[in-house]
């Protein structure tokens, strides 16, 4: 049952690239070649993850011991202040990275040193970036207020993206002793919850809160007793956090009832299908494929199409999935994308075409720039070598 491991890793990187795409495209417009852009970002993201792993433990300690986090004040005046502040920090005239850095500094109360660590840059560089941002806010007069209703819809998107980036930064982390930066996750959850409390009628706000709750409900199950990363298929679902799931499912339902769902609601709905399955084998893959169809319609991207193809391989079998993946192989944007090769490899293993699977894993290993991922892919190649050597033709399952 290890076939889905790459899928999980791919999905997480994809979600990241996706979030970045939304963030950057919202600001700079959709690039001429969005697919290639997404691929580049996903690759950079993979490198980032590799690097981040090295400092994750250090960052973690600093983030957790942070004492400057403002106390949660129940009074609505303070809440309104925080809402105004988040709209200032997430103003589209600031670069996405800067928005996240400002949010960490201003809303989560991290020190400049801590923000610098989270971004893996020198303190002086982060201090300069924050200073420039504050200067821009002041000179260009970026307002400190909740935008008018006509602007609110587009402005909320930027806020949601920043919260989602905070979450994925905390949640997505390669294999290791510390799988996630729990503190960042909790702060993103806190912000999403606050936003939902203040804008209870917004479907995408509910969608994001649900996405965070549902994804984070598996936090404790993502790592084995031996400290090994566990894919969705291998997790002990009884350890999933029930309260978070219940709250998340209710929110997804609420968001879906609001009419045409946005990307966060759709991603939350996909997470909800997993949360609702008592066991991996009972996953409603048909539903997941349908949700990916809607997601592609909202945000057409070859990377989302890749995820859809993987879901299709579970819904209708590895042969169908492989054909969908091979169709994507014609996309020049995905030609250097390691997760396409890895997804093909997994379908080929399930089809018992082990030699081709080995070649595809080797291709993925060659394409990935992430050390941790490459090590994992090499271990899969080794497994196939053993199987092919000892008992030719015998499947891994």
């Amino acid at each position: 049952m290890r076939i889905t491991r790459d899928f999980d890793a791919a999905e997480e990187c994809v979600q990241d690239a996706f979030a970045k795409a939304l963030a950057s495209w919202g600001q700079q417009g959709i690039p001429v070649n969005p697919g290639a852009w997404l691929t580049t970002v996903a690759r950079r993201r993979a490198i980032d993850l590799g690097r981040r792993h090295d400092v994750a433990i250090r960052s973690q300690r600093l983030l957790v011991t942070d004492a400057t986090m403002p106390e949660r004040d129940p009074s609505s005046a303070i809440e309104d202040d925080r809402l105004r502040l988040i709209f200032t920090c997430c103003h589209p005239s600031l670069a996405t990275d800067t928005q996240v850095a400002l949010a960490l500094r201003m809303l989560c109360g991290l020190s400049t040193v801590e923000v610098a660590k989270a971004f893996l840059v020198k303190e002086s560089a982060m201090a300069a970036r924050l200073t420039r941002a504050k200067k821009k806010i002041s000179i260009a007069r970026i307002p400190y207020r909740v935008p008018e209703r006509s602007e609110l819809r587009t402005r909320i998107d930027a806020v949601l993206l920043v919260i989602h980036l905070l979450f994925t930064t905390g949640h997505t982390s390669p294999v290791g002793e510390e799988l996630s930066q729990v503190d960042l996750v909790e702060r993103s959850l806190d912000l999403a919850r606050m936003l939902h409390g203040l804008l209870p009628d917004d479907g995408e706000v509910a969608g994001l809160l649900a996405l965070i709750l549902l994804t984070d409900s598996r936090r404790g199950a993502r790592i084995s007793a031996e400290g090994e990363f566990l894919a969705l298929a291998d997790q002990d679902r009884s350890t999933w956090h029930r309260d978070s799931i219940d709250e998340g499912l209710a929110l997804v339902g609420e968001a879906l009832r609001r009419g045409r769902p946005g990307p966060f609601t759709l991603m939350a709905a996909i997470a909800a299908v997993h949360s609702s399955a008592p066991h991996w084998d009972e996953t409603d893959w048909g539903e997941i494929v349908g949700l990916y169809d809607l997601l592609i319609a909202t945000w057409p991207s070859p990377v989302v199409a890749l995820n859809r193809a993987v879901a299709l391989s579970f819904a209708e079998g590895p042969g169908v999935g492989l054909r969908a993946l091979d169709d994507l192989g014609a996309e020049p944007q995905l030609s250097a994308y390691p997760y396409l090769a890895a997804a093909r490899a997994n379908c080929l293993v399930r089809l018992d075409r082990l030699e081709e699977a080995r070649d595809a894993f080797a291709e993925a290993a060659m394409l990935t720039e992430n050390v941790v991922e490459r090590a994992y892919l090499h271990s899969r190649i080794e497994e196939l070598n053993d199987t092919l050597g000892a008992e030719p033709g015998l499947g891994l399952l």
Partner: protein
């Protein structure tokens, strides 16, 4: 109140390729933009194409040398500007969004206050 310069950057080739009715339509759009935002407008002009531009730079010996062409060669060139006055950036952006710039876009810059 802060003054902002709205720089209109557009693809000159697209301008050159446009027909008379397009020019007429865009001209009318600028007029209606001006009427609608008269309260915020402090000035504005259209520029002749970069073909007519002359740039002055200092060379390595410190002499000012004139060269043909715009300061920076880009596909989208500065083709005009408006000066607007607004309470804050959002208000300025709300006006700048209405500026007709079919062959490109606009850049909004606060004008530095000199005391």
């Amino acid at each position: 109140m802060t003054q902002y310069l709205v720089l209109i950057y557009e693809n000159e080739q697209s301008w050159a390729d446009a027909d008379e009715s397009t020019y007429g339509r865009i001209h009318a759009e600028h007029n209606s933009f001006g009427e609608k935002n008269g309260a915020s407008l402090r000035g504005g002009n259209a520029l002749e194409s970069t073909m007519t531009a002359t740039s002055l730079r200092r060379n390595s010996s410190g002499e000012i040398v004139a060269t043909d062409g715009p300061f920076a060669e880009t596909k989208e060139a500065l083709g005009g500007y408006y000066v607007i006055e607004a309470d804050d950036l959002d208000a300025a952006l709300a006006v700048a969004k209405q500026v007709p710039a079919h062959f490109g876009g606009v850049e909004v810059r606060p004008i530095r206050e000199m005391n």
